[in-house]
């Protein structure tokens, strides 16, 4: 207090300070101290929280980058296959290096020295199959690629035709499903023609057409034969005539 202040003012302020400047009770003090210390510790943790944000952002960028490269098909084949297999639940068009080869399929034999004895060559596998097994023949749909990855092509086609139980027991659907993979475009009509499920009228029509064509071919053959026969006859007459004239000379000479 300033020296000029009255004693009454000093006494008043001293009494006020004595009564109000009292520490809170111990429970309240402990609550305040604990909260302050926890807050200060939280600031330390909050400092590391920024690093967690950085880590999360880095992970997100990495995931997006990997996804983008995977969608472009630029990953190595095994990783690309794994990513595509994992992303099957998502509607993302991630290309697969081996369209029919998933992780559950046997791995392609890229190195012949590895496990070649247990995997028959494609030609052997085709030859070893029983001809009258009742199963649809396994034919590669990979085209020219079958020469590059024959084992994969056979395995994938076999799965596509055999793994579907409905197709296996419904012959027509199975054949058509396999024909999608097997039959060239020009043979589709023949396959339908010899299918047993067609009606008889169509078969009779086919038989009639076949008879007509046979009759036509026979008549054409006869015409050709008669033509050839007439021509042969005239040739023979000319030949005979050529032979007869020298004979006449010789006979005259002999005579």
């Amino acid at each position: 207090m300033d020296p000029g202040e009255s004693r009454s003012v000093v006494a008043f302020l001293t009494s006020l300070v004595d009564q109000v400047a009292v520490a809170p009770d111990e429970v309240t003090a402990y609550r305040h101290i604990s909260a302050a210390a926890a807050t200060a510790r939280g600031l330390v943790v909050r400092g590391s929280r920024s690093f967690r944000w950085v880590a999360a952002a880095t992970a997100m960028v990495t995931a997006l980058g990997t996804g983008g490269v995977a969608m472009a098909g630029g990953l190595p084949d095994p990783i690309q296959t794994a990513v595509a297999d994992a992303a099957r639940v998502l509607p993302l068009p991630i290309p697969v290096p081996y369209p029919h080869a998933r992780l559950s399929d046997p791995a392609p034999v890229d190195h012949p020295e590895v496990d070649t004895w247990s995997r028959p060559a494609p030609a052997e596998a085709m030859a070893d199959e029983p001809e009258d097994s009742g199963e649809a023949p396994v034919v590669s749909a990979a085209g020219d690629d079958s020469s590059e990855r024959p084992h994969l092509a056979v395995a994938s086609d076999q799965r596509s035709c055999d793994f579907d139980g409905e197709r296996r027991h419904e012959g027509k659907e199975r054949d058509s499903a396999c024909d999608e993979l097997v039959a060239p475009p020009g043979f589709e009509q023949d396959v339908d023609r010899f299918d047993g499920d067609h009606d008889e009228d169509r078969d009779e029509e086919f038989v009639d057409r076949d008879r007509e064509s046979r009759a036509d071919r026979l008549s054409e053959a006869r015409d050709d034969d008669s033509d050839h026969r007439g021509q042969d006859e005239s040739d023979r007459q000319e030949e005979r005539h050529d032979h007869e004239s020298p004979d006449d000379d010789s006979s005259t000479g002999r005579d």
């Binding site: 009255s6 109000v20 400047a21 009292v22 009770d25 807050t39 200060a40 330390v44």
Partner: protein, 186 residues
């Protein structure tokens, strides 16, 4: 006037370093040093629940202790600044709720651990003191309390309250004359 408790700068530096790491012992030392002054400042302002406001002050202090740079005196000034800001916020909140804080103030001013007779006398005395203090303007009462409780100079009070040194001296002079008139009036 009671002496203002103080810490040496060396003690304060060690406490501050530990308090930044969340050490409860360091916070206990800082609390014992500052809490009575801050709580007296809040009580004399007529707040209905000064203990809760004191807790808010130390929470704000814990949030800002990481960035503090200075000595013990500067730290104490920071705490008073925070307490003043919280007091203003609390009065604004109370004015919106239109509550009457006087009864709560008297109830909270009861000294802990005292007997009933002493508590009754203290309540009467405090009631008289706060009634007299309440007849001053808020700015005058604030300057007087800061001068008496914190032992601050006019320049330091100006830094805490955001006023110039001359304005603080003018307020203190008017507050002293008004208080003397109230105390010495027949």
């Amino acid at each position: 006037m009671p002496p203002i408790p103080s810490l040496t700068d060396r003690e304060f530096s060690s406490y501050l370093r530990a308090a930044r790491a969340g050490d409860e012992g360091a916070w206990r030392a800082l609390y014992d040093w500052l809490a009575p002054q801050i709580l007296g400042f809040l009580r004399s302002s007529g707040l209905p629940d000064p203990d809760d406001v004191l807790g808010d002050v130390f929470l704000d202090l814990a949030r800002g202790v990481k960035d503090f740079k200075g000595n013990a005196k500067g730290f104490r000034a920071l705490v008073f600044t925070i307490a003043r800001a919280r007091r203003v916020d609390e009065f604004r909140r109370l004015s919106r709720r239109s509550e009457e804080p006087l009864d709560a103030v008297i109830h909270d001013l009861a000294p802990a651990g005292s007997d009933v007779e002493h508590e009754a006398l203290a309540l009467v005395a405090l009631d008289d003191l706060l009634e007299i203090l309440g007849q001053l303007t808020d700015d005058q009462a604030e300057v007087l309390v800061l001068r008496a409780l914190g032992g601050w100079t006019s320049r330091e009070i100006g830094e805490i309250t955001g006023r110039s040194t001359g304005a603080v001296e003018q307020l203190q002079h008017r507050a002293t004359e008004a208080l003397r008139d109230l105390l010495e009036a027949p």
